[in-house]
Symmetry: C2
Subunit: 409 residues, 2 copies
């Protein structure tokens, strides 16, 4: 007898048939003797349709009103899923974000959860009911409806699990778990039975946004055990939990990759204290996301700075840097497109300094030139030519024994 | 400088273009120097679509969850209209039913408003904002979302107008006002500039449900002046207000009519105290609406009872009466379809006993046989053959000087 929080995303509740399927999954958990709280997203493309309506009305829709509009999506799903559970003979009740006591900052579009007053949820669980909660939404101090931004439903589920001290938070999605690398590209990619929170954060782009980083961070901070699993298949998924609970027999847990990368180098920047902050503040205020940043001073007075961006942002980046040339006071700009980022991830590498060296050796042994390098405690990222990306991933996947090894860490 | 409550129905907000049009109408009122509260319904067919989704999930959807589902419709409209007002440079804010403080009974699907805590609305009006409120919805004592049933948005508007002591409540709809009879059938039908609340109640089926009876009753009880007017045309509509404010120069204000009527007669009912209540309780519990009821005792022990129903309900009525024959203990059933109801309405007839006689004389003069008669203080209804309906309406419309007369009472 435990307490399980289940979260089902937009694809999993995308039609009447899928909602009925989700109801079955919820009932299975309930019939195992567990208390169940279910968090759901808006059905399929509902949110996109609502956004498009708003854009037809206003070129720059008011954010409070946008939250008012978008939150109807999850409200529709909670009512339909609850009707389905009741129809199947199980007592259930739905709550919007405000009814579930999800209090957020007083901002719109991207509010953080401040507190969850779980009195109502607890009382309904005590009544033996399945509680169905709208993800992605909450209420501000002055009773306005707010939303949590991208990945908001994941965050709602994890936050409720943390507040209720749930035994587990199951994230149901359209993939069966987290893989050693993307199975669409690498045939012998294997599903991982367990990863740590930090590894999950670094592997976030494996499996196409299977779990939002903000939710993983939240789960890590409150030690909420997560499982990523399929809403359609009945196989076991990937557990995400504290490192200490896992053995360390795999140094590298997965190989992540991403194409369409461009390197931009700003040459001859003055070696001043404010150069770096000025350049990245300027880029950020123009909504350009920078990934890897590498700085190397060439002499006492000037420095060269390289960073990677999505290739789509190159024109805008060059324009922004050009517009601010007098302020930034650099000598020249150089860029190289057609690149890709390949990363190895694993908490085992913290205590294993040779991992980066081994990675470079594998790449060199395959005639793959490394253009940029960036390291964190549990990740080594390299930038290579796009044409070498999949070869690099396959070579690393094999070299670090990810294929064919037991997947449980 | 006054306070105006405006209500726009589903057709008036049925598309992005129409919402932008509504925004213009709201701004016109605001620019006249008035404070404005706007109440809106769900867009066009939204509610029907949501009901159909629910029916796909459950044959008998839970009522609380149905309210949770349906109220998303108005929430979408309030956010879009508010975005439109903001886009056009006017400060505005949207409120759901619960945010607007609309407290209802703790029942679902057809709750009555118990109280409106108008603190938030007043405070935003004081801030100079246009306040946009979701019609049809409220909140129960235990924080569940409730709905007000059919005509709910009209009721919301009138209740808010009553609470705020608004100068006027404008009901914008797809007709330009209340007519002496249906202009689609009678060419010289005239728009009435004013009718009393009671007349409006009796004329309810003129202009195809232009205003819900419950809202009219509410307006009457709280003396809220209403105006029914067009959301598309800019002409003056029909004022609905206290009788005392109007002159009495027209005895009959309008001619209402309705086809597809069937008369059912139950013959030889025992003349007991409970016969009538038993028969109509039985019909009501089977959702059969009965309109005119006529009873005539033929002897001391038995009575004959006739009532009118919509012809669509005939089969069900006969089945229900048949199933309960032993309980009801009648001798036989007789029915006549192909009938229509024609009524004259006007508060002037209270003090004018000859009006019914004049009506019968007009019908007789046109060779129209009267099958049933029912009278109230301000209405005389007759049931005639369907083929005579329009002729009856035209003759009465002319005889009571409705065509071509001044329409202001």
């Amino acid at each position: 007898m435990g307490l399980i929080v289940q979260k089902f995303g937009g694809t999993s509740v995308g039609s009447v048939e899928r909602i009925l399927n989700v109801a079955e999954r919820v009932i299975e958990e309930k019939e195992r003797g567990n208390d169940v709280v279910v968090v759901v997203s808006a059905m399929g493309k509902t949110t996109d349709k609502l956004v498009s309506l708003a854009k037809d009305i206003s070129s720059n829709p008011n954010k409070r009103e946008m939250d008012m509009l978008l939150t109807t999506g999850e409200q529709i799903t909670i009512s339909l899923l609850t009707m389905a559970l009741l129809q199947k003979g199980h007592d259930a009740i739905s709550f919007t974000g405000w009814q579930a006591g999800i209090q957020t900052e007083s901002i719109h579009g991207n509010a953080r959860i401040l507190n969850i007053d779980s009195t109502r949820i607890k009382s309904e669980l005590d009544n033996g009911r399945i509680v169905v909660v709208a993800g992605f939404q909450g209420i501000t101090e002055d009773d306005a409806i707010s939303t949590l931004g991208r990945g908001g439903s994941d965050t709602t589920a994890v936050a409720i699990a943390a507040t209720l001290k749930a035994d587990k938070c199951d994230i149901y999605t359209d993939v069966t778990g987290v893989y050693t690398t993307d199975p669409r590209y690498v045939k012998d990619a294997r599903k991982l039975l367990a990863v740590s929170y930090d590894e999950m954060l670094e592997l976030a782009n494996l499996g196409a946004g299977v779990l939002h980083p903000r939710a993983v961070e939240f789960a890590k901070n409150y030690s909420v055990p997560l499982e990523v699993r399929s809403s359609m298949e009945r196989e076991v998924g990937t557990m995400i939990e504290e490192e200490v609970r896992m053995e360390q027999n795999l140094v590298v847990r997965g190989v992540a990759f991403e194409d369409d990368i461009t390197r931009v180098s700003v040459l001859g920047l003055p070696n001043s204290l404010t150069s770096l902050s000025t350049i990245f503040t300027t880029l950020a205020s123009n909504h350009i996301n920078v990934d890897i940043i590498i700085q190397s001073s060439t002499n006492e007075n000037t420095t060269n700075l390289s960073f990677s961006i999505k290739s789509d942002d190159l024109n805008e980046t060059i324009k922004v840097l050009g517009d601010n040339k007098s302020k930034l006071n650099y000598i020249g700009i150089e860029s190289e497109s057609g690149l890709a980022k390949v990363s190895i991830v694993g908490s085992g590498m913290i205590s294993n300094p040779g991992v980066a060296a081994e990675m470079f050796e594998v790449l060199a042994g395959n005639d793959i030139q490394v253009k940029m390098v960036s390291t964190s405690e549990i990740k080594v990222s390299t930038v290579v030519e796009e044409g070498n990306m999949i070869r690099a991933v396959e070579a690393l996947h094999q070299a670090f024994h990810l294929a064919g090894t037991p997947v449980k860490a």
